[in-house]
Point group: D2
Chain length 429, copies 4
């Protein structure tokens, strides 16, 4: 099912076809000089996909305010539709990651069929024990999986197991567990006991994993807890994943680290330990800003992909990360941001692919820091736009996704059926 | 009007009177050895007050969730009542700072009379152009005082002028202006033009200030904007305050700075420049955490007070800062947190007062870093609790405010009339 | 052997005896009200010791300059003498930690006997592969234990084994390994390969450990390498220590973390994992500032000790950390700074000891964040100076170590034999 | 005078001429589609220059160690020679910035003539009051321009005036003043008094400025002082520059800020205030790492240039910044790093020049954050290497400066006359 008229896309592409072809050809010549076959790179990029979080197609906000966007999705079916548009135009996001209970529906079969019609599958499923749902027996105000009360922990465990069951119905193969548990005051929480309770709860969830599933543990240095969090960094995440077993791995969200931390190093460590679950991509300048991937620090994103491409290149055993965008779109149309971010992730991947790894290895072995870093930079400085355009074109998408999307007036059309969603944020200082 | 039964307070105090008196006496002896008259210190502490923000008596939250507290205030009259309890028991918060439009009422006179009955006055008034109010003509999604659209700016200016008018009715003498304006993407905003628009708008507000009013400009490094903010640091705040005129000064919120920044140095610079408006006290470990003042870094709070006491001691011309708590109480009873935080601020003040400034000056002059820092530390290490207890006792409050408050069952009583407030936060990722 | 005249100390103490006794008595009464026996606390504090690093008694510097102090020690015997003075007066530093090759001597037996005469023993021994020694076959410019060249690694391994052999001669029971290995450019170093080489080298050192020795792995986020370090955080340190075996543990230097990191949480994690080696105490505001312990953030130091006291209180199996000061004294007399810092560490320990753990546990179980944090704060706010004074007095030391030290004119005396040491720093931009 | 054989350069270039020409042509076509004339851009880039600091051609180090490089310059004449090589091959660094007293010579006329022979001029001159020189009457251990002792301040002032006099002999037009003054302990320094003394001293230096000179005030958040610095941020720098007068401006070193700080915003503020002196370019991940410009965060460098190009584009009155590299080359050949860094700075400039400012303005006016940031990114993602190659080629330099330099064996040649410089760093913990 096409959400955007194919003719519109084709018209839009036609006006840019010649330039795109020229650029691709010239880039191909440049890469050939470096002994790189552009078509090989292109095929790898075409095979790469990053999941969209269902909540990402709604307009985000902060504790101070949320400013609604036009035509926001009303439910998971609307969300899927928006994801379908993104995939149709940008062709880089073949899967969607659901969040329970936000995305609950009475008919999972229908949801799965709808997704199939849009050419979409489902990635990892996400549980939510960081906010209370109406009618919930136990509050998560003071914790969920690590709560001091056994009943509250049991409720949180049961919710995660329910998520696994839902995920099985839609074809997910992983559960992502992020908790808001932590403390706001020194002394509020006994660090070791809270971690022990985390392990105890996580073991129960782990035991419910189907044989081909994985469990992704997501760490975060702060927020919503502001003095301490239970899974505060990759060290704690690794401790927990090791204690749980081989199906448990550590998920890296690019915005969940202390200032200045070398994230690509963490990625390398987790790869070597066989514990890299995958990524939540976004960008940040100050904290968990959830800005668009690569919008503030594109070289950092590239350096992460450099580790990933190196691991694949070196055939590291068990290397199989999951990729998802996780951004808050407060001032842009989420569809535009997600298409652009997916392309930015592809860009980083393509740039890492064209790094001359033989030259890089040689420079490293010779302690030739300058040539080594130039080998990386050469990949990053290369404008791989022609490859990304061609990948989209080959897949039936748009050379310029944002341009085609705007021309389609999709947002204006759906806005007729989708009322403005007031509320959220505003006054929670 | 007493909100907590005076007999209950007295009973509660009676059980601790003897110990409190003994401790005060012994501390007096210790201070006398250092040539400090404890009664002089006590009187200064007794004369010190810090304002409560009206929004502080409600339960706060994060973009992820807000977990309601018991018996939250329904309106500004309920808020005043809670502030009255705080002042009755802890005797350190004689004023309240309102936030418009959150605290709007149809009868300002009644509000003022109610405050008087509780022994409360009104501090600086706060405007709000960081969230939209229903029915508002122009949205602040893309800015308020710095918005590119003249109509939006005019609306924001008018709101601030309305705040001044309200403030005049209740006896405020200052307007605090904090804006959320900024950007989430490089390029989204033209830095210089946005700042120029800020100045233009601020000048109109400044022109509306009564003769005896001040305008407090509050800077913040990030949030809700995550790539840039217009008044991002004290440098920009100072530039703006200087451009506006002598009534404009720079307000320092302890949580609004980049990591590692030496806040007490900023305080010293603003004092020297005659531009220190005052403070929003809170504490933080990661960002604008809005934790209870001194709960994470009490020595930092003391070092700020060291600058303030030094400025008073040296009779710096025009030195007259305003003090307010600005915290988000997510996991505690706000009344308990505010009483405790006010006492923490008093504690820092008292500790700074007992620093031997003659010895400190001498050590500084001799480049004797060790004795200099010991002179400060000696003040900080001194347990001034007996002074704080005595100040409360003298003012009719509780030796142990939290204990007395809990004994009074105030919260349980008001909870009968105040329903649980669901909502806010939750799902704004 | 007494380095400072005992009569001088006694005279100095006599003038303060009465006040010290009064203060101790009053504090005893206050603690008794909280059901704490001051004498029990005092005995624990008296049994506590923190090691002095031999390099700490010299004047430190920065890459920009080193400003020599008066009478700096010329060699390890001079250093021991200074350490003897510190221990004689402040009575909290019974051991010294040597750094090889800086502290090499031709007569280890004489050194050990000298130490015994000063009442000193030896703590962990430190290797140095972060700088080149004259005549060294292979340079560490591009790494030591992780160097790409096997010969360089072998040299670094051999040096560490030599350190173990020296340590055995003087009675050390642990080797501390901190390396400067890392990179200054993205791409300079292959992260996974460098870590593998680290493990390979470390295993050889580990194999040389005597049966009752431990190996302390020290991590650091940056400096001297400024893009990446091999053992960059506690996660990598834990991975390495786990790979090596039970004798390998993770050492925590308070200044080696990213900004905002919750260090006490790391301590808790390492305790739970049985991998806490111990500490290098110092303080910092910006990076690895190596300021005097507790001079900038005393509550942070207290919160670390809260974890340590809790672990001991709960009898965590295998809990046995080593304590060392590791500071750079650039603007103070190192002897004064080290005496003061040792007392600050004792202070934090004493304050943590008087926390009411039953009340803290109860508040945690009840999710009473306010009472929980007050339980901690009550310990921290208590002025335990009288306990520290009494501990020193009982041990033959000085009530006021800095005062007694200055009165002794020790520095002026040794300065006659010890020439000013020019050089170091200066122009390495 | 040519330092590298012109024939060698030509041979080296010849092998790349055809590809370079093709790439330039294709980039020209791409830019033409965006209505940009590549030749206009090229001419602006060709006219752009960034100064080399004389100390940058030596190998740097840290407080832990300095690992000497091969053939390091022995004196200012050797340094000039190395700078000549850099300028001959990379053609982007027409001036050198001296540091006094490190670069003192008995014959300034000869130095100037030598520079002229190498095609070099002199940029701002730098004073040094952060380290002691042998024979100096007063030590800067506790400060220089802000020292409590008038004699020490006078000495520091006199040194700066001497620098001006030297600068006049070699054609400098600015004095850069960076001081290490600050404190390592709370209380060590009286913040306001120290700042007053700074102003007093700076006024004396200011008074000695020739009519066409400027005085550049350089701020730094920390190091070598680790608790506070006197000119800690741009706010204090601005206060001082304003107090001094129109010739005093604020210099921005990219590594001298707190973590997360938005440096391009500071640049914008200083431009608007008419107080931007210029830059010390380098890159950093953790602190004042002094890494090669753009080696870690190239987009940040681009965003700074975006502000500069915008200011020029909008013809901001008085906009005239000075550009200098300021890096520490610890693991690379300084000549290679400086050529590469100069090209990186040119790259950022060229990328900023090709930003479509009309489109950017329009997107900003429309609050179209996505298109606005895409307009910037499009500039950044463009590989402007062909422009840089052509600029060098036109100026007689090398298409690939590092390749030509290595082929020339310059380093090996000079190493015969320049002995290895041991020393510096090493053991200043």
């Amino acid at each position: 099912m096409t959400l955007i008229d194919a003719g519109l896309i084709q018209d839009h592409n036609n006006s840019q076809l010649r330039h795109a072809a020229n650029d691709y050809e010239h880039l191909g010549e440049q890469l050939a000089r470096r002994n790189i076959d552009i078509d090989v790179v292109r095929k790898k990029v075409a095979a790469f996909g990053v999941a969209i979080p269902s909540w990402g197609v709604g307009t985000g906000g902060t504790r101070f305010a949320r400013f609604p966007g036009l035509g926001e999705p009303r439910n998971v079916f609307d969300k899927l539709q928006d994801c379908g548009v993104i995939q149709q135009l940008a062709c880089a996001t073949p899967t969607v990651s659901l969040h329970i209970p936000w995305d609950k529906t009475s008919d999972w079969k229908a949801l799965r069929e709808t997704a199939t019609r849009y050419g979409l599958g489902f990635d990892a499923i996400n549980s939510n024990t960081f906010s209370d749902q109406s009618g919930q027996a136990h509050s998560y105000k003071f914790g969920s999986l690590t709560h001091g009360d056994a009943g509250t922990r049991a409720q949180a465990v049961a919710h995660n197991i329910e998520c696994i069951e839902i995920g099985q119905q839609i074809g997910s193969k992983a559960l992502t567990v992020w908790i808001g548990d932590g403390s706001n005051f020194p002394g509020q929480q006994h660090f070791r006991r809270a971690f022990d309770r985390y392990l105890e709860s996580a073991r129960e969830i782990y035991a419910a994993l189907p044989g081909d599933w994985r469990m992704f543990l997501e760490h975060k240095i702060c927020e919503p807890a502001f003095y301490s969090t239970v899974i505060q960094d990759w060290g704690s995440s690794y401790l927990a994943a090791s204690a749980l077993g081989p199906k448990a791995q550590c998920l890296v969200d690019l915005g969940h680290h202390a200032p200045n931390v070398n994230i690509e190093m963490i990625v390398a460590r987790l790869i070597a330990a066989g514990k890299l679950a995958g990524f939540h991509f976004n960008d940040s300048k100050y904290g968990d800003d959830d800005l668009d991937a690569g919008s503030v620090a594109p070289y950092r994103l590239f350096l992460v992909f450099n580790e990933l491409v190196a691991a694949a290149h070196e055939k590291v055993a068990g290397f199989d990360p999951a990729y998802m965008l996780d951004q808050s779109h407060n001032v842009t149309d989420p569809i535009e941001s997600l298409m652009t971010s997916a392309a930015q992730v592809q860009r980083s991947y393509a740039q890492a692919l064209i790094v001359d790894r033989t030259a890089l290895d040689a420079a490293q072995d010779a302690n030739d820091a300058l040539l080594a870093t130039q080998a990386l930079k050469r990949g990053f400085e290369t404008d791989v736009t022609p490859i990304l355009q061609r990948v989209r074109l080959d897949a039936g998408g748009a050379i310029d996704p944002v341009g085609a999307y705007r021309a389609s007036a999709y947002r204006q059309r759906v806005a007729k059926d989708r009322p403005v969603v007031i509320g959220g944020g505003g006054g929670i200082v």
